[in-house]
Symmetry: C2
Subunit: 368 residues, 2 copies
Amino acid sequence: MSFVITRDELPDLARGAAVLGTGGGGDPRLGRAMVAHALSGGPGEVTVLTVDEVPDDAFVVPVAGMGAPTISNEKIPSVEAPVAALRAIERHLGRTADAVIPVEVGGMNSMVPLLIAAQIGLPVIDGDGMGRAFPELQMKTFAAYGVPGSPMSLAGVAGESIIIDTGPDNHRMEWLARGVTMRLGGAAQITEFTMTGKQVKDTAVRGSLTVAMRIGRALREARAEHRDPMDALAETIAATDYEHLRVLFRGKVIDVERLTDGGFVRGRATVSAFGEDSRLEIVFQNEHLTATRDGRMLCTVPDLICVLDIESGEAITTEAMRYGQRVAVIGIAAPPVMRTEAALGAFGPAAFGLTDDFVPLEERLPVG
Amino acid sequence: MSFVITRDELPDLARGAAVLGTGGGGDPRLGRAMVAHALSGGPGEVTVLTVDEVPDDAFVVPVAGMGAPTISNEKIPSVEAPVAALRAIERHLGRTADAVIPVEVGGMNSMVPLLIAAQIGLPVIDGDGMGRAFPELQMKTFAAYGVPGSPMSLAGVAGESIIIDTGPDNHRMEWLARGVTMRLGGAAQITEFTMTGKQVKDTAVRGSLTVAMRIGRALREARAEHRDPMDALAETIAATDYEHLRVLFRGKVIDVERLTDGGFVRGRATVSAFGEDSRLEIVFQNEHLTATRDGRMLCTVPDLICVLDIESGEAITTEAMRYGQRVAVIGIAAPPVMRTEAALGAFGPAAFGLTDDFVPLEERLPVG
């Protein structure tokens, strides 16, 4: 059933979305603050529709921010640019959006649809195209299940708009859009994979806004009750399509290498265990891709690898990771819709140039 | 009065346009061959309208190739991409072109409108936005006299199309389009500065296709008559809005530095005089910008600097310049429409970061 989001729900949503962002998806404090600001100027609430409630013939526009997190954190997006990106694709296609949907889950990117909705009164759909965050535009369930990404729009902070149409070639779209984003200073607001309500039902990861809010609430309540946040998270995940959670490692961040290259942040982080000689290495491209303990692969994309503050359970983005942080690293199983052959083709290990096979988290680590 | 261009006129047009291309504007043999091919498949001729014949309310689309010449010469444009760029802007604006006009004069870029016209039966307008070739999109009389470049379209060889809209900011448009062009492999087909027939009358450099054809014919005839091609050229130019021609130097190319950087070919060439100790240095960014003899400036943008084969008078592009070539370097005065304060603001020396003032060629060198 549809529900509303007000300022009161934003902290839980941003906190939970940042966990599912697996290191990327944007900074949750920034995302929360921008939506709170937008809500204060409008009707004060945003309507969220479940996927099943979207009419089959609705014109739905997926929206997001694009760029290396290093840039987005320093070059704060304008509240106008996400609306400008929507208006640009509407003008180009000669259609008016009936609803927006997040492209991905993340501290910023779960908030972008709300930011638009709060300003122009559209509903937001409870779902997305990744069930997490991924670094590249073609890495989406929308793509895996046959929706073309083109035409897409980009908007910059100076009022520019760009439309890219590469027909059915989503990789080419990513390549061109990444170039435009770099030229816009490293960050842009985008729309892509415009589709019908029927296509949303056929291709989206369902309920991801709700899951994010539940995760956020669980972490908040665990803190109030002085409970281990990882236990609270595991309980919450067990009741969703994600289902499985494993604590992969607890330790101290002892090294982070980070390079902004080709419009992405690429690098690796090393975590050293407390009181034993063991290390976890995490490789990332905007988001975490693999977690390897002492040479043994524990978790790979598309399963989620999340680095959390060990006390609060708050997500730490790749951009915020620093020497000395005490962290828990958890794996979360991707929902079944993200593990089909088609989905693994779009965002499995090989899509990132990794040679590791995808083995489900719960098979690698049978005991929870 | 309107006239037609058939295959028979193409060699003269390409030869003359390459002279006015001042080192850039694309390779004339390639341009000629592509149009000849397109004409052989269609009605066999293209109608050319004078600027005065264009109805005030006509929807006119300026068209060109974009990119570093180094790339365009190796990565031959498809005959489809120029039409795809036109179709993309038509779809975006919901209007159908009534005519096309060259963005600039050049061995390839004077031919691009003919290539489109031959395929889809539009008239071409006898004029352009530069009266020569310039390296950057905003360097146009269209811009100098108030037509916005946006929205513009780009098309690549794989069927991609891109629309860029930067409102009134033509520099920003250039910056984004250059980034897209690099991402497309270094060359793209574009439309920009779409305008009405009235705006063409108010802003275009008139008659440049005709001038190019006259130059091409004069060079051909001079060769048949064993006349010095520079004399024939000077006579031809004297009867046009360009009016003044000066032979700046004759000598042998002894050095060429060329670097493809940021989507442009930048560099310099040195020519050594025959039988005396004197050198001419030419600086270029896709096109020739300045000619300096033994430290004395002889000619600067927007006046034209053309490097010609000393025997045949055929233009040598920056890309084709080689050690040992025997060349005449000539200066041609830009027409008055290209020397106003507004025009110099768009493409005078300062627009290229040069500190030299613009002094008209015929003032620097009073004796012809």
